[in-house]
């Protein structure tokens, strides 16, 4: 039982305990705080497992954006007229618990009984890094070897934002999502909201740029950009854009649109859909990622803002 194992046991125990507390606690605010704390700690686990790209995404989404989303939802639930809903009965609860335990046991069994060495394509991916001259194998998989999946994911993001917008009342369609925040212009919140976003933008661009050869990438950078945007909105420094604006809609489609264009170009000029000519692979990938980071930032920020509530004046 060496020190490394003890550290891992402590980490696992903390995360598990936090997870159990998050489920068991009554107030939604406390549960959300627990959930965000849990997300930030799981990022630590990912680093321990040497999956730094996942750790970045976990910190960005689970920590920052997911927490804000849940808090907004909790606030809406609290404000809305509480309809008399039946608390789930004992049978429902027991079957839910049994189903969850079964899923957890199946996952644990799958991991524990993995053949040793576990089947993996990682060495093949690393060996083929010369196809795109990018050194980060995760970026290679996302943007070259399985680019189709990434493109479809961006389309799913677009569908999600359309789904959220469809919840708008008729008179608010085309208007501004969410309430108009106001804060004391000489206060601390505004100070922080003026100071942090420039730092955040630099960090986001750095994380995006370093994703070519080190852990990072467009998604993590886009999530950081989105959180900085939401920060400025929360401090009242800027208002949410009305969803009818043309530049907003263009930014939202830019990512998957460019991806699709490049894919069709591969079909037209090359061998297959999304086939990159080897000489142009790196510039093409970087170009797509630039469009993607903007789209992801805009989409995530708008998802957090919610459905339009105020009609355009």
């Amino acid at each position: 039982m060496n020190i490394a194992t003890i550290f891992e046991v402590v980490l696992a125990a903390v995360v598990l305990g936090l997870g159990i507390w998050t489920i068991a606690v009554r107030e939604t605010y406390s549960a959300t705080v627990g959930f965000v704390a849990y997300g930030l700690l799981v990022a630590l686990i990912w680093v321990r497992l040497d999956a730094v790209d996942v750790a970045l995404t976990e910190a960005a989404i689970g920590g920052g954006l997911g927490g804000v989303l849940l808090l907004g939802a909790a606030a809406r639930l609290r404000d809305a007229e509480p309809t008399v809903a039946e608390a789930p009965g004992m049978v429902t609860r027991v079957s839910a618990a049994a189903l969850s335990a079964l899923t957890a046991a199946a996952l644990a069994g799958a991991i524990v009984f993995l053949p040793d060495p576990a089947p993996t394509l990682a060495p093949t991916v690393v060996a083929h890094a010369s196809a795109t001259s990018l050194a980060n194998p995760v970026t290679n998989v996302l943007m070259a070897f399985r680019a189709m999946d990434t493109m479809l994911e961006k389309v799913v993001l677009l569908l999600a934002i359309i789904g959220v917008w469809s919840l708008a009342p008729d008179n608010a369609w085309g208007g501004h999502p969410g309430p108009r925040h106001q804060a004391d212009p000489d206060g601390i919140l505004v100070f922080l909201a003026r100071l942090l976003p420039p730092v955040g933008i630099v960090v986001a661009i750095y994380i995006f740029w370093t994703g070519a050869n080190h852990p990072g990438g467009a998604f993590q950078g886009g999530a950081i950009l989105a959180s900085m945007w939401v920060l400025a909105i929360m401090a009242g420094l800027t208002d949410t854009p009305s969803i009818g604006r043309r530049w907003l809609r263009f930014v939202l489609v830019a990512g998957p649109g460019l991806f699709l264009l490049v894919g069709l170009g591969g079909l037209w000029f090359g061998t297959a859909f999304l086939a990159y000519p080897p000489a142009l692979a790196k510039p093409l990938i970087l170009g797509i990622e630039v469009a993607m980071i903007l789209t992801i930032a805009a989409t995530l920020g708008l998802l957090l803002a919610g459905a339009p509530e105020r009609s355009v004046k």
Partner: protein
């Protein structure tokens, strides 16, 4: 040279952990929100600074070292301002009672 580096790392990280211990003790033992906030922000930030100081000799290059220091500065700035925000909320909560 490497021995000096190791000694510096061990001593700085030990001091950092000690301040984390002090901060957590304050968090557990202080009576109300404002004092606990004080313990959390001041002691833990100092602990982090000492840990960063201890890791600087182990950093691979100047760039790594600069990154470490900038992380600490960012946490310091954020901690100072956010603790003010939380303190105001605590004050408002007290006057509302």
């Amino acid at each position: 040279m490497s021995l000096a580096r190791d000694i510096m790392t061990i001593s700085a990280v030990s001091a950092g952990v000690f301040f984390f211990l002090a901060g957590t003790a304050g968090l557990l033992r202080f009576p109300d929100t404002l004092t606990r906030l004080h313990a959390l922000t001041k002691a833990d930030n100092l602990g982090l600074g000492l840990v960063v100081l201890g890791l600087l000799p182990q950093a691979g290059s100047l760039r790594e070292g600069l990154k470490l220091v900038s992380i600490w500065l960012l946490v310091l700035l954020a901690g100072a301002t956010v603790s003010q925000l939380i303190a105001r909320t605590a004050r408002q909560g007290e006057t509302a009672k």
